[in-house]
């Protein structure tokens, strides 16, 4: 699920709202030039670069800069969809993980006490959520107390480093506080030593949503002295601007000019994977060179060493959603799923596709432009329920062709001899008796499991999840549910098909229709909705045969 505020989720339920769709190139807004907005489809079952085409009005020649300065072709672009003017809960505005002295306790229905000043670190981080749009103003109401002194000013800046924090003075002037502009301050005296203010920040940089609030006493000193009394009580906040989700992030692949139109074609990070090759037939690349790796470690090596993506192993990685990678990797670590590879001129995209198929995983570029990894398990997020009140249509497919009740997995390959040393098979007897034998073979000379435990892990998973004719659902919606992402759990209510929200299915694919807003979501019963899948053969009814 996209990281959006509760207000966003509420707003998109509205039946007569004015959503805001944007198209940015290098943080410049070209939305007014878009003649037809694209559809963006993201499918977990396919690993491929998503390419879009968008026609921009160029009657005035305003888009000619792209052929005059070809360097602009390297610019990043982004499509977003949002809603304006959100009312926020204070809990969505203030972050409490950056500073250890911050404590919380509700002091009234309207205000939350963020902290008392018992240390010498008396400032607060304002970090609402991703998706505040450029030039969005965020106002919020605060009550302040500072050891009996008069509160004179409030500084808002995005510069967390204290020595560089500029001071906003009582005379109304201020030095440049950093990227974000301080634009409003009005402190009034209240009873019991409190001072009250409506303060705000304008987000000039759409990539930055963090600010720091600092209280300044009327004598110019900072309002912290460890007195145990000073503090800040925050009330609800209001956005004057747009909170948006990133539906697509990519780069320009081609620009064409015709009939006063400028046509921009896009591509995402996966495109680069189709241009890069791993190994040669004379000098194959083995990941790892000897022994074995977890499946996830092989993927990491492919993406960073050969695909050219950033290798920073934390959430600041600009290319890979590291949280999703960690969660994905943990499953293979817990299950001890090890593999070996042999690449002889394999394109990175092919290597990754084979890895996804062999591990029954989904790898894709999300709207934020980062690579996401997932082996579908039940989402930890709250299920989303859609009824006929929201759905414009509902289609159901049952495909016998996908049924598998006998899954073969070959493992322990010896590339030098072109020899498969072993294989394993998992059979679902009851399914075979009911539907007949339906076999599937996982066998890949570029990536293979190194032992029976690893091979059995995927064999059991595949036959367990596919031994019945699974249903696929797809439905169209307007904006309700626009914040749904692949991997989310959705429940449907439809009296005609007797769907009563008792069952949930995982979103396998999404299609955002930025033009007509008839967004379509695809659910697959073959994706597990049980808690995390861990190999425990004692609980399964399959017959496993080590050959």
């Amino acid at each position: 699920m996209f990281d959006v505020s509760s207000s966003f989720k509420s707003e998109v339920q509205g039946r007569t709202i004015e959503p805001v769709r944007r198209f940015y190139i290098s943080n410049s807004d070209y939305s007014d030039r878009v003649q037809k907005w694209p559809k963006i489809k993201r499918d977990a079952s396919q690993l491929k670069s998503i390419s879009l085409s968008v026609n921009l009005a160029n009657v005035d020649g305003g888009m000619n800069e792209f052929y005059r300065g070809q360097y602009k072709l390297k610019d990043k672009l982004k499509f977003t969809m949002g809603v304006p003017d959100a009312d926020l809960d204070y809990s969505e505005v203030f972050s409490d993980y950056t500073f250890s002295n911050m404590t919380r306790g509700v002091t009234s229905e309207d205000y939350i006490k963020l902290t008392e000043d018992t240390t010498s670190s008396f400032h607060y981080v304002l970090e609402p959520f991703n998706g505040l749009e450029q030039n969005t103003d965020l106002y919020f109401d605060v009550k302040l107390k500072s050891a009996g002194k008069n509160i004179a000013a409030i500084v808002i800046t995005d510069n967390i480093l204290w020595p560089y924090m500029n001071v906003y003075l009582d005379n109304g002037s201020y030095t440049d506080p950093g990227v974000d502009e301080v634009f409003y301050r009005n402190v009034t005296s209240e009873a019991d030593g409190f001072w009250r203010a409506t303060i705000g920040a304008r987000y000039d940089d759409i990539t930055s949503v963090q600010a720091v609030i600092l209280l300044i006493n009327s004598d110019g000193s900072q309002a912290y002295d460890g007195d145990g009394t000073s503090g800040i009580w925050a009330g609800d906040a209001t956005l004057k601007g747009t909170e948006a989700i990133d539906l697509y992030t990519g780069e320009i692949s081609k620009v064409s000019y015709s009939k006063n139109d400028c046509v921009i074609k896009t591509r995402d990070k996966l495109w680069g994977f189709a241009q890069k090759v791993v190994g040669e037939s004379d000098t194959p690349v083995k990941i790892p060179p000897s022994s074995q790796y977890l499946i996830s470690d092989i993927a990491w090596t492919l993406c960073t060493c050969y695909g050219g993506l950033d290798s920073t192993a934390n959430s600041s990685n600009p290319d890979i959603n590291y949280e999703s990678f960690e969660t994905w990797a943990e499953q293979f670590s817990v299950d001890n799923v090890f593999a070996q590879t042999n690449y002889e001129g394999t394109k990175v995209i092919s290597g990754l596709t084979n890895l996804a198929r062999m591990s029954d995983s989904a790898i894709w570029i999300e709207g934020d432009g980062k690579l996401h990894f997932k082996r579908f398990v039940e989402s930890s997020s709250t299920d989303i329920v859609f009824t006929n009140d929201e759905m414009a249509d509902l289609e159901i497919d049952i495909d016998m062709d996908r049924l598998i009740n006998k899954q073969w997995v070959y493992f322990d390959y010896v590339p030098d001899d072109d020899l498969w040393a072993s294989s394993i098979v998992d059979v679902r007897s009851s399914s075979v008796n009911t539907f007949g034998l339906r076999e599937d073979v996982l066998k890949d000379e570029s990536i293979w499991y190194v032992d029976s435990v690893s091979a059995l892990n995927v064999a059991v998973r595949k036959s367990y999840l596919n031994n019945q004719p699974n249903r696929k659902f797809n439905y169209a919606l307007g904006l309700p549910g626009i914040y749904t992402q692949k991997g989310d759990n959705v429940r449907l209510v439809n009296s005609f098909y007797d769907l009563t929200s008792s069952e949930g299915w995982i979103v396998e694919a999404v299609e955002y229709d930025m033009h007509g807003l008839k967004n379509r979501f695809y659910l697959d019963e073959a994706l597990p909705t049980q808690p995390g899948f861990y190999l425990d053969v004692s609980t399964l009814d399959g017959d496993h045969i080590l050959l």
């Binding site: 039946r15 007569t16 929201e390 919606l477």
Partner: protein, 121 residues
Amino acid sequence: MALTFQLGISSVDAITILPGYSSKFSEKQLRSEIRTQNGRAYIYKWGDYYQAKLKVDFISGANASIINSWWDTNTELLFFINSSTATEVHSVFIANKIKPLDTYIKPYDNYLKGAITLEGY
């Protein structure tokens, strides 16, 4: 209550025009509609723009030349609708596909007529 109509780059140099009764003044809305299975409608408004289709005649040759040049250069204009109590102003451009004033009124050789389509931008 008489209405007067003026078109110009600003109020200072605006040209007074006298549109005929068949002229249309409208507001167009851009929106998407989703009708759900229960019959509910989700209506998303993306924006709107002003449109006026003016039938005009007896425009002097000098003024016709100015208006045609605004069309030729795609000039951003202001369209004033004045009543005795208020003035309505729209930011517009001349959206005709062909030159708006191109027909002389018989038997004059210094008055033209035509149709001007104004649209907001």
